[in-house]
Point group: C2
Chain length 75, copies 2
Amino acid sequence: MADTFTYEIKERIAVLSQSSKGWTKEFNLVSWNEKDPKYDIREWSPDGNKMGKGITLTDEEAAVLKKALMAREDL
Amino acid sequence: MADTFTYEIKERIAVLSQSSKGWTKEFNLVSWNEKDPKYDIREWSPDGNKMGKGITLTDEEAAVLKKALMAREDL
């Protein structure tokens, strides 16, 4: 039986890009299975009903990522 | 036939976290199928031979993500 889960996008923080087919790669706060929301980077279909592979980040992981990105002068 | 692909971690930028089983969630520059390296956030097994779901980011996407993270005062 396919895994069933619930999700709710609590905050749409940023759209990182949009593909020619309208899918958007987004940075959001998402609550999975009604748990506390986590930072989340993944692609979403134009109607928002389908999602692609992505990654969730705890606050600590997001803080480390922020520091690492800030150190990248080429960005 | 399973998708075959090659990858090479060109730069290990940051370890975002490590699980109790030794898997590390990392921010790296990875070259997929010998193409130009892209930013990449995903989990890697302790011996580095297995990888989990993750996300690749172009320079532009990483720059937008950096800006969004910098605006988060709670991080």
